[in-house]
């Protein structure tokens, strides 16, 4: 029990200290998660839109597949990507294993089903009249997509927030593909896992709190932006 309080104190100390291992992990986390969320949104939103709007055979199956992949465990992602980017893998020569881009690839794959599934249901949930109205006003396919996304912005935002939460909180992929290498690929979560395994529960919790503070900051900024935009 007492390590909870200790963890809080420790968290403040960590943040107050400035520099050092914690800040290295914070920056690594921010760097990787930013790349991953951007990549997964760029890939996922158009796919989600297609899945939500377009009519094509097998659409229902694709939807079920995307929903299934919400259950993709980090370990599986880690293993699969590892198979491709390890020295013995087809992309071994790129030297991506145990690097930040390596982690980003894994995290992007992890977050993609979330972005796709939630975007698709956001689009499916839109008022039927929207599509007709846009076509009637002369929207082309791309314009239809952009405006629909903008009208469903609120729901697309929550998809992004959910995906970001998944990315920033995951351990398995960072551990396997990043290697938790100190000063280099150690993220807050891998550091946390390490401290916990060492029995340094207070320290583990402190890092967790630091992570949540970061997440809160990101979400608070988003919330203010949303309020400004009147959503």
């Amino acid at each position: 029990m007492d390590f909870i309080l200790q963890g809080l104190i420790e968290a403040i100390k960590l943040l107050a200290a400035g520099g050092g291992e914690t800040y290295s992990a914070i920056f690594t986390t921010l760097k990787v998660s930013t790349i991953s969320i951007i990549a997964s949104l760029i890939l996922g939103i158009p796919l989600g839109f297609l899945l939500g709007y377009a009519e094509f055979p097998g659409r229902r199956f694709c939807r079920t597949l995307a929903d299934t992949l919400l259950a993709l465990p980090t370990v599986v992602v880690g293993l699969l990507v590892y198979a491709f980017i390890s020295r013995r893998g087809p992309f071994g020569d790129l030297g991506l294993l145990f690097t930040l881009p390596g982690i980003a690839i894994g995290q992007t794959i992890l977050a993609l089903p979330i972005v796709i599934s939630l975007t698709a249901s956001a689009i499916e949930g839109l008022d039927q009249r929207l599509r007709l109205t846009l076509l009637t006003l002369g929207a082309s396919g791309r314009q239809l997509a952009l405006t629909s996304l903008r009208e469903g912005l609120f729901a697309v935002l929550i998809a992004s927030v959910t995906a970001y939460g998944r990315i920033i909180s995951e351990v398995g992929v960072s551990m396997m593909l990043g290697g938790n290498i100190k000063w280099y690929t150690r993220t807050i979560t891998t550091a946390m896992a390490l401290e916990t395994n060492k029995g340094e529960f207070a320290m583990g919790l402190a890092l967790g709190i630091v992570l949540l503070i970061i997440a809160f900051t990101v979400n608070a900024i988003l919330s203010i932006l949303k309020m400004r935009a009147g959503i």
Binding site: L132, T136, L137, G138
Partner: protein
């Protein structure tokens, strides 16, 4: 005679198994204002959606400006714009809503002025409306914003589905003006669906009637709802609540709706008795409407719970000196009905 803008041929539309539209042939000339009337569910909105290329018909051909429209290739959607029956505004300001179509066309010259003008056409003061949000409008205001966002596009074809629903009298007038202006200023062709027959007869060059998905002549129609009861003589009978009755030959079912052409109805200021093959119903004149395009007068008689139109010449009216409020007898033959 001007060229054709639309030609429909052997058109059938189904929802599931249910045929809702079946038009053997329909041509619409450029620059005409066509009204479409018909009871609920007769297929008016479906027809407009097909004319707007939003929905491919189940069968049949649609030609636009002489070209066969294939609904699989992107059809010429920017040429025809439809005001939906249940209009939808984007979750933006009124300005953004009205300007949206122009922005899609990358036509951003002089936007403020043009948006202001379109709003004025529908009777909304640009000063007080441009900056409002989509959800700060009353029902009729929203309807008119939706219309303004179509007018501003100056499309070749304007398709309006119930533009008058929840719009006030002054706006109804303005919408009529806007329709005339669209034809005059940029040669638009208009197809307008409305239940306000009076307004429609004023605005339209020609009013098509749809019944159960089929075109059924032009002009207003009387509808007499069931239930019908079979009488001893083998004829069918509808009882009014005041004891009067209407007799008909062979409806298709006891809940059938009878359609009666107003030209088949006569009016007499003097008492009439039902004759062997002719109904006579006593009522009071509730309205008299001048049909500009036909130069005739529609006289609406309310008899208990039923309201019937008779189409008469001005001279006949003058001769009988009919006026609203007057008690009259309406007569029509037992076999004057069509059935729905």
């Amino acid at each position: 005679m001007s060229e054709l803008i639309y030609e429909l041929s052997k058109l059938v539309h189904r929802y599931g198994e249910h045929v809702v539209l079946e038009i053997e042939q329909l041509s619409i000339r450029k620059g005409r204002i066509i009204g479409v009337a018909g009871p609920n569910g007769s297929g008016k909105s479906t027809l407009l959606k097909i004319l707007a290329f939003l929905q491919a018909p189940s069968e049949g051909m649609v030609y636009f400006e002489g070209q066969r429209v294939t609904f699989s290739d992107p059809p010429p959607r920017r040429e025809a714009t439809l005001l939906l029956q249940d209009p939808y505004l984007l979750k933006r300001s009124v300005f953004e809503n009205v300007a949206y179509g122009l922005k899609l066309r990358r036509d951003k010259n002089d936007l403020t002025r043009r948006v202001g003008q379109a709003l004025t056409w529908v009777g909304l003061d640009p000063k007080s409306f441009t900056h409002r949000s989509w959800n700060e409008l009353s029902g009729g205001e929203a309807q008119r914003v939706a219309l303004a966002s179509r007018l501003i596009l100056k499309p070749k074809v304007l398709l309006l589905d119930e533009p008058l629903a929840s719009v006030d009298a002054a706006s109804a007038e303005l919408i009529m003006q806007a329709s005339f202006r669209a034809r005059r200023d940029w040669g638009a062709t208009l197809v307008i669906v409305s239940h306000d027959l009076i307004w429609m007869h004023e605005v339209a060059d020609e009013v098509l009637s749809l019944f159960n998905g089929s075109l059924a002549g032009t002009g207003a129609r009387n509808l007499i709802m069931g239930p019908w009861q079979i009488s001893e003589s083998g004829l069918w009978r509808k009882e009014l609540e005041d004891g009067q009755q209407i007799i008909a030959q062979s409806p298709s079912g006891d809940q059938s709706v009878a359609v009666l052409d107003p030209s088949d109805v006569s009016i007499s200021p003097k008492s009439l008795e039902p004759a062997s093959q002719r109904n006579a119903v006593k009522g009071a004149i509730s309205q008299m409407i001048f049909e500009k395009n036909q130069g005739k007068v529609l006289v609406n008689v309310t008899a208990d719970s039923i309201s019937l139109y008779a189409r008469m010449t001005e001279d006949a009216i003058k001769a009988l000196s009919l006026h609203p409020g007057q008690t009259v007898w309406v007569s029509f033959d037992f076999d004057a009905f069509q059935w729905l």
